[in-house]
Amino acid sequence: MSALVVRGLGKTYADGTEALRGVDVQVEGGEIVAILGGSGCGKTTLLRLIAGLDEPSAGEIAVDTVISAVFQEPRLLPWLTAAANIAFGGRRLNTAERQERTESLLRRIGLAGYGKRWPRELSGGQQQRVAIARALIGHPGVLLLDEPFSALDTFTRASLHDLLLDLWRDLQPAVLMVTHDIEEAVVLADRIVVMRPHPGRVQETLRVGLPRPRDRLAPEFDLIKRTALRAINRSLSPPPEMHRGGSGVSPWV
């Protein structure tokens, strides 16, 4: 039983803009799937539909477990301290467990002793780490990530990739992440779903068969990056008949 199944998902906004058409995505527990694509391909719309923030116009979403999310911006509640922000994500837990997990997550994200700080007293990278801890405290079965690292500098981003993988190994949630950063997708994901724009739909799915931790400098890494880049380029070119609307699997899998 997959943690997250999306079938034939479509979204047309009130103004007639068709953002998504016939999208199928499936994520197993313990799997990381990256949605990769240029702007306007409906990546964020897809995530918002799954998170329940918008209503789909067509298709269905089956989620079996607790969902949580990390957004592009940290979106911490500014009136809560870092610790209280993390605890906010664990409202379902009992008080003792919530406190215990908050403390341990603060340590895990390298912010032990920062629990009493207000969000505004933290750097962008620190805030995003708190947001990741907030998303994970409640043992989610599905974790949605909406370009959570895109606003960060390269070094901070790399350290957050490591942090995310580290925390993900413990809980093994199904992760669906949206990104426009090819390297990020190859570093983190088991599968990469490439989307094409206008309207957003799946172009093809790539399997990243590399063992973790992944070496960004290894030739295989580079090969997959190039394959993904070619897929993106195809998604941006005028659609050849064979790709239209379908979700093919690229030949090198």
Binding site: L53, W79, F88, G89, W118, E121, T156
Partner: protein, 306 residues
């Protein structure tokens, strides 16, 4: 590791003034360590700023004090008569006489009671309606146009009607004050609720909060600063309307003291009443602000550190 965002100029200067060292000594690292070490104490920054504020606050006293002294001297040396603008010593005398007879306290208590009760009623009603209209689009469409129409009427214009309806005693005065307080509180709260960051509401929804929980845990704390600001505006208007209410006929209250001073030709009495108004208004506002401080601490810190 990201460094904490503290601009600790003090320590940086210290490091720069350290005695010169031999080349090759790890001075840069040392300075870095000091700065890092200072990172944990926002209190430092707060103390520095507070200390920096003192001369500024005193500076504000220079003009009123100099003016008072100059006027006192001018009247003493016969350069001015001081009949329409009595010198500070006369005012102090008048205040002392009024205080000794207990008259001043009676007036102050009457005014404070009216403002307090009128403010409580107006603020409660404004908050309740602001919350209702902020929570329900239906209620907003039904009620807000009428409220806005009533708001367009200058509050003082209600006075004749209130007197006809409620009599010339306390009830009509309270109604006028409550009305004056109501509008800014209602409008301030409603605007704040409508402009709460949608992104924070979404956080609540993603984490599975109910509508009530979102209202209590996200919307309410988010609008708190604007609500406090609206209450302060309302309180200020409450003092404005208590004067209007007391001028229209009262047997006690600072507004009555104003009117009495006018009729008796006693400028000193008027000025004492005005001075007491200033003190009471400022004190009431300070009480409100310090009552709100604990819940606005997150914002306070932000402002001081910008």
């Amino acid at each position: 590791m990201d460094l904490p965002l503290v601009h600790d100029t003090d320590r940086t200067v210290m490091a720069a003034e350290a005695p010169p060292r031999l080349p090759g000594q790890a001075r840069g690292v040392d300075a870095d360590l000091r700065r890092h070490d200072a990172g944990g104490s926002p209190a430092d920054a707060r103390v520095q700023r507070a200390a920096g504020l003192w001369p500024g606050a005193c500076l504000g006293l220079v003009i009123p004090l100099a003016g008072a002294v100059a006027w006192e001297l001018a009247v003493r040396h016969g350069l001015a008569s001081g009949r329409l603008m009595p010198p500070p010593s006369r005012l102090a005398q008048t205040a002392a006489v009024l205080a000794r007879s207990g008259e001043l306290q009676t007036h102050m208590l009457a005014t404070m009671g009216r403002v307090g009760l009128g403010f409580a009623i107006g603020a409660a009603a404004g908050t309740a309606l602001g919350m209702l209209n902020g929570a329900s689009r239906m209620a907003l469409r039904l009620l807000d146009p009428s409220v806005q129409a009533l708001r367009a009427i200058p509050s003082i214009a209600w006075v004749p009607l209130f007197i006809l309806w409620l009599g010339i005693f306390e009830t009509s005065k309270l109604a006028l004050i409550a009305l004056g307080v109501f509008f800014p509180v209602y409008l301030g709260l409603l605007t704040a609720i409508q402009s709460v960051d949608r992104k924070l509401i979404e956080v609540g929804r993603v984490f599975g909060l109910s509508r009530i929980e979102i209202a209590l845990l996200v919307t309410w704390p988010a609008v708190m600063p604007a609500w406090i600001a609206a209450l302060r505006t309302g309180l200020g208007l409450g003092f404005m309307f208590v004067v209007a209410a007391e001028l229209m006929g009262a047997s006690e209250g600072l507004g009555y003291l104003l009117l009495d001073g006018e009729q008796m030709g006693r400028a000193d009495e008027i000025l004492v009443a005005m001075f007491v108004f200033a003190v009471l208004g400022k004190a009431a506002d300070s009480v409100l602000v310090s009552a709100a401080r604990p819940v606005l601490r997150w914002q306070d810190t932000h402002r001081l550190r910008l």
